[in-house]
């Protein structure tokens, strides 16, 4: 992992979103979220029973700014499913409430608990 991180952050981000079915870039950790919006997305994923990798953007300024350029999205959290940027807190919550998020995971072959 160490040599990858010294490579441009984009290469590392590309490999992270490519090698994890579901990955959440957030402030804090799933156990200790440090932002209400990040916490909301963690709760939605836990409620759906979706396993996910996470990265704490507060641990690295390079990651915190790099992720925003990577997706052309100015805020965190950011959720990626099968390498694709799905959205931040607003979109994840809106999709969840509309039942679209469960469908997205099912369509992409990501394990999600029964309705």
């Amino acid at each position: 992992m160490t040599d990858q991180v010294t490579a441009p952050i984009n290469d590392w981000l590309k490999s992270e979103v490519g090698s994890n079915d579901v990955v959440l870039f957030m402030k804090g950790t799933p156990q200790f979220p440090q932002c209400g919006f990040s916490s909301t997305v963690v709760q939605v994923l836990d409620y759906l029973g979706v396993p996910f990798a996470s990265h704490n953007v507060l641990e690295s300024d390079e990651l915190r700014s790099g992720i925003k350029d990577f997706s052309n999205w100015p805020t965190v959290p950011q959720l990626y499913v099968k390498g694709e940027f799905v959205g931040g807190c607003d979109i994840i919550r809106e999709m969840f409430e509309a039942g679209e998020l469960r469908d997205l995971f099912a369509n992409k072959g990501v394990q999600v608990n029964a309705a």
């Binding site: 919006f37 052309n72 999205w73 100015p74 805020t75 807190c89």
Partner: protein
């Protein structure tokens, strides 16, 4: 660092002419707002594209000067 609701609305309307914008101050600290934006130009765009259009209208203030702007966007 904070913004006032009228300034947010002005920036959005400048970039999305004719949009109907409703801004709600969530915390009274000039940093946490929600905005509902109805704009015909969103037609055919994904939620991500719609929100990116709003962020672009704010010219880099999102996530910096403006900490939180909860968005609800639709075309009609």
């Amino acid at each position: 660092m904070a913004m006032q609701a009228p300034d947010i609305e002005r920036l959005i309307l400048a970039a999305l002419p004719g949009a109907r914008v409703t801004i709600t101050d969530l915390a009274g600290d000039g940093d946490h707002y929600s905005a509902e934006i109805i704009w015909a130009g969103f037609e055919g765009q994904s939620r991500i594209q719609q929100h990116q259009a709003v962020y672009a209208a704010l010219k880099g203030r999102m996530g910096g000067e403006l900490h939180a702007l909860q968005l609800k966007t639709r075309s009609a």
